[in-house]
C-alpha cells in the first residue's frame, strides 16, 4: 500500500475512534450548559471529563503529541508542536481547577484533537486528489511481460526482462518496456505517456514506448531500454522532481513557514501574559493562549504554492506537458516573444514531397515510378522523401546508377537514360528548362527544393520537396498571435525560404541566416525588447533554451531531451506550447489566490485569537478549514479548460 493511502487510512481510523469518545463527551458537557440537565454532580463530572479526554488526546493523538514535543525539544518545530501544547495545556486545566478557580478546558482538549484529526483526514484526502494524475503516472508501468522460452509463452516479472529480449504483446495489453517492433503490426494508444489522443500505427522497425497500450495486432518487440532508463522512468523522474521545485513567489511564504511555529509559541505566551496583566482573569487568559496556539496554521501557508503546482503539473503531465521548474510558471506571465526554432519545431525536421508536376498530364504515375526507382538507390534525405511518397511495391531495374554529389543522380532504366537533379545538373548536362522554368521558380519562391527529372535529355517533370510544416503549427501560432504574443521564427535558412514558411504559419517576425551556435546570442538580442520564451527541440538548442526566460523543449514522442528546457512537450506538437502557456498562467493565478487566502486567514485569525474573541474550539475549526480550503481551491484548477 502506498504512503498516501496509508496516511488517509491512518487518519480515518483515528477520526472514528476520536469522535466515538468525543461525541458522548460533548453531550455530557453541553447538556448541562444548554439544557441544565445534570447526569452527575460537579466533582464526578470533572473526573469523568479528565478520564474521557485522556485517551483522545494522549492515546489516539499519541503520534501528534510525540512529534510535537520532539519538535519543541529539538528546535525543529512543526504544527504538531502547536496542537500538542494547546491540547496538553487545555487538559491540565482540568487538573489545576481542583486547586484553583479556573475554567475546565479538559473536554475542549479532546475536541481540539478530534477536530485536528478530522481536518487532517479531509486534507490528506484532498491532497491525494491533487496528486492523482501524478500517482497514475507512477503506477503506469507494466508489471509483467510475455516472453517465449523453450517454445512456450510465459509471463515473467518486468524486472526479469533484459535488453535484447523479444517480448510478445497481445491486443489490449500494455507494452512492457521501450523497444523496437521486430514482427507484427498494430496501432498503439500512446495517450497516457505523450498526451497524443490518436492511436499511432507501428510496423516493423518502429519504436514503441513502455506502458502504452497495444490496440489490435500482436507485436513482437525487442526490448531496448529497461528499468530506470525507460522513457516513462525519465518522465516520472522529471515530474517528481518538479513537485518540490520552488516558485519564486513562495519565498516569503516559505520563510514565514520556517519561523511560524516558534513565533506563535512566543505570541501565545505574550497573549497569556497580556491578558493576565490587563484583565487578570486566569480562565480567559488561558483560553486566549490556547486559541492562539491552535488557530495558527502553517499548513495553509506552506501548502498554498506546492499544492497548486502539483495540480497544475499533474494536469500537464496528462497532456504530455511536463513542467520541470516551478519558476517557469511565474515567468510565463511576463513573456512577450515566443521564439520558435524552425527545423523540427515548426516543421517536421525532414523533407517531404509537396508538389509533383508532370509535363505529360497522364504521365505522373510513370514519372513517379522512374524517380522512385532511381532515388531508391540513394540515401540522401531528399531521395528518401521521394521514395517514401511514391511507396512502390516493386522498383524498375536501374543500370549504371551513379550519384552525382551535390547535384543529383543518374541511371538507365530500360533503354532510357534518366537524370534527376537540381538546376545546376541540368545546366551541366545542357538540358533545356524551357517550358518548366516558371514552375521551378514558383516552387523556389515557396522555399521548396526542386528535383528535375529528365529522360533522354528531355524534361519530363519536377518534384518539389520541402521540410513540411507540422499539422497544427499554423493553428498554434495563430492562437499565440491572438493571445497577444509576438511570434518569431529563427532559422539557418535563407530569407526566401524562411519567409515562405513564416507566411504559411502566421509567424510575425523572422530571424534568418542564423548559424546554430549563434541562436543563444539572438535570444539575448531579442531579450532587450522583452521577455522571451524559446521553443526548440532541446538537442541542438540547449544553449538557447537556457538563455531564454522560459525554455520549452519539444520531444519527438519517443525521445525527449531531459536536461534542457523548463517545460518539456513530450509529443512535439506546437499546440502543446499553447497549452503549456495557458496552463502555466492558470496555475500561477491559482498560486496567487491560494497565497492570498493563506496570508489573509492568518492575518485575520491570529489577532482575533490574541484578542480573546475566539473560543479554542472555534479557533481549531477555523484552522482545519483554512488548510482544507487551500487544498480544495487548488483542486478547482482542474475546471480550467486547457
Amino acid at each position: 500500500m502506498d504512503l498516501e493511502e496509508k496516511e488517509i487510512r491512518n487518519w480515518k481510523r483515528k477520526l472514528i475512534m476520536a469522535w466515538a469518545i468525543t461525541i458522548p463527551l460533548i453531550v455530557f458537557m453541553y447538556s448541562r450548559i444548554f439544557f441544565n440537565i445534570e447526569f452527575f454532580d460537579a466533582t464526578t463530572m470533572k473526573i469523568i471529563m479528565l478520564v474521557i479526554s485522556f485517551p483522545v488526546v494522549f492515546i489516539i493523538g499519541f503520534s501528534t503529541i510525540k512529534q510535537g514535543i520532539r519538535g519543541i525539544a529539538t528546535f525543529y518545530f512543526n504544527m504538531d508542536s502547536l496542537i500538542a501544547l494547546g491540547t496538553i495545556i487545555a487538559y491540565l486545566t482540568g487538573i489545576i481547577q481542583f486547586f484553583l478557580p479556573l475554567e475546565n478546558y479538559s473536554g475542549v482538549s479532546a475536541m481540539i484533537m478530534s477536530i485536528f484529526i478530522t481536518g487532517k483526514f479531509i486534507e490528506s484526502k484532498a491532497r491525494g486528489r491533487a496528486g492523482k494524475e501524478i500517482k497514475k503516472l507512477l503506477e503506469l508501468g507494466a508489471k509483467k511481460a510475455r516472453i517465449e522460452r523453450n517454445g512456450k509463452e510465459i509471463m515473467i516479472d518486468i524486472s526479469e526482462v533484459k535488453v535484447g529480449d523479444v517480448l510478445i504483446v497481445k491486443p489490449g495489453e500494455k507494452i512492457p518496456t521501450d523497444g523496437i517492433v521486430v514482427r507484427g503490426e498494430s496501432s498503439i494508444n500512446e495517450s497516457m505517456v505523450t498526451g497524443e489522443s490518436l492511436p499511432v500505427d507501428k510496423i516493423k522497425g518502429a519504436k514503441v514506448i513502455g506502458a502504452t497500450i497495444n490496440n489490435d495486432g500482436i507485436l513482437y518487440i525487442k526490448a531496448t531500454k529497461i528499468g530506470s532508463d525507460t522513457f516513462l522512468s525519465h518522465i516520472i523522474d522529471l515530474v517528481e522532481e518538479a513537485q518540490g521545485s520552488k516558485v519564486p513567489i513562495q519565498k516569503l511564504a516559505d520563510q514565514i513557514t520556517n519561523i511560524f511555529v516558534p513565533i506563535i509559541l512566543v505570541l501565545s505566551i505574550l497573549t497569556f501574559g497580556g491578558w493576565m496583566l490587563f484583565n487578570g482573569n486566569l480562565s480567559l487568559s488561558i483560553g486566549a493562549a490556547i486559541a492562539v496556539l491552535v488557530i495558527a496554521c502553517p499548513c495553509a501557508l506552506g501548502l498554498a504554492v506546492p499544492i497548486a503546482l502539483t495540480v497544475g503539473s499533474g494536469m500537464g503531465a496528462k497532456r504530455g506537458i511536463l513542467i520541470r521548474r516551478g519558476e517557469a510558471i511565474q515567468t510565463m506571465k511576463e513573456i512577450k516573444f515566443v521564439l520558435f526554432d524552425k527545423t523540427g519545431t515548426i516543421t517536421k525536421g525532414h523533407p517531404e514531397v509537396t508538389d509533383i508536376f508532370s509535363n505529360n498530364p497522364k504521365g505522373e504515375k510513370n514519372l513517379l515510378e522512374i524517380a522512385a526507382s532511381l532515388e531508391n538507390l540513394s540515401e540522401h534525405p531528399i531521395a528518401r522523401a521521394i521514395v517514401e511518397k511514391v511507396n512502390l511495391k516493386k522498383y524498375k531495374e536501374v543500370k549504371k546508377f551513379k550519384i552525382l554529389r551535390g547535384r543529383g543522380v543518374e541511371g538507365i532504366i530500360g533503354k532510357d537514360k534518366i537524370i534527376i537533379g537540381n538546376r545546376r545538373l541540368m545546366n551541366e548536362e545542357k538540358i533545356s528548362l524551357k517550358g518548366i522554368e516558371s514552375h521551378i521558380e514558383g516552387f523556389e519562391g515557396e522555399g521548396k527544393t526542386t528535383m528535375i527529372i529528365s529522360k533522354n535529355k528531355k524534361i519530363i517533370g519536377v518534384i518539389a520537396v520541402a521540410d513540411a510544416v507540422k499539422d497544427d503549427s499554423a493553428r498554434a501560432i495563430r492562437a499565440l498571435n491572438r493571445g497577444g504574443y509576438i511570434s518569431v521564427m529563427i532559422t539557418g535558412d535563407n530569407e526566401t525560404t524562411a519567409n515562405a514558411i513564416a507566411k504559411q504559419v502566421g509567424i510575425k517576425e523572422v530571424i534568418a541566416n542564423v548559424l546554430p551556435e549563434d541562436k543563444a546570442k539572438k535570444v539575448k538580442e531579442l531579450q532587450k525588447r522583452g521577455r522571451v520564451c524559446f521553443v526548440g527541440d532541446g538537442i541542438n538548442d540547449a544553449p538557447a533554451l537556457k538563455q531564454a526566460n522560459v525554455g520549452i523543449a519539444m520531444g519527438t514522442g519517443t525521445d525527449i531531451a531531459i536536461e534542457a528546457g523548463d517545460i518539456v512537450i513530450v509529443k512535439g506538437s506546437l499546440m502543446g506550447v499553447v497549452q503549456a502557456i495557458v496552463l502555466s498562467k492558470a496555475t500561477f493565478s491559482k498560486i496567487k489566490q491560494n497565497l492570498f487566502w493563506a496570508f489573509a486567514y492568518n492575518v485575520i485569525a491570529i489577532p482575533l485569537a490574541v484578542g480573546g474573541v475566539l473560543h479554542p474550539v472555534i479557533a481549531e475549526i477555523a484552522m482545519a478549514l483554512s488548510s482544507i480550503t487551500v487544498v480544495t481551491n487548488a483542486n478547482l484548477l482542474r475546471r480550467k479548460r486547457i
Binding site: Q67, G71, T74, F77, N78, D80, I134, E241, Q243, N258
Partner: protein
C-alpha cells in the same frame, strides 16, 4: 549525484520545511526538494560526494520522520 528518498510520516508544511532544513545541513548537499504529495525528497549531492545513505537516513530520523527507501 541524485538521491530519491521516500519518507514516511510527513503530513504538513512545517514537516517539509524541517526535512529540507535537516538535509541541507549535511555538507555536500547542494539542493533538496521535498514534496508532501509524492512523500519524496530529491537530494542533489556534489559530484564524488561521500555522503552515505545512512547519513541521509539519520538526518531524516533526527527530525522525527522515517526514510523508507533511498534510490
Amino acid at each position: 549525484m541524485r538521491k530519491k528518498i521516500t519518507i514516511e510520516g510527513m503530513h504538513c508544511a512545517s514537516c517539509i520545511a524541517n526535512v529540507e532544513r535537516s538535509l541541507k545541513k549535511i555538507s555536500d548537499v547542494e539542493d533538496v526538494s521535498v514534496s508532501l504529495i509524492t512523500h519524496k525528497a530529491i537530494v542533489n549531492l556534489k559530484e564524488n560526494s561521500k555522503v552515505s545513505d545512512e547519513q541521509l537516513k539519520q538526518a531524516i530520523s533526527k527530525v522525527g520522520y522515517k526514510a523508507l527507501k533511498i534510490e
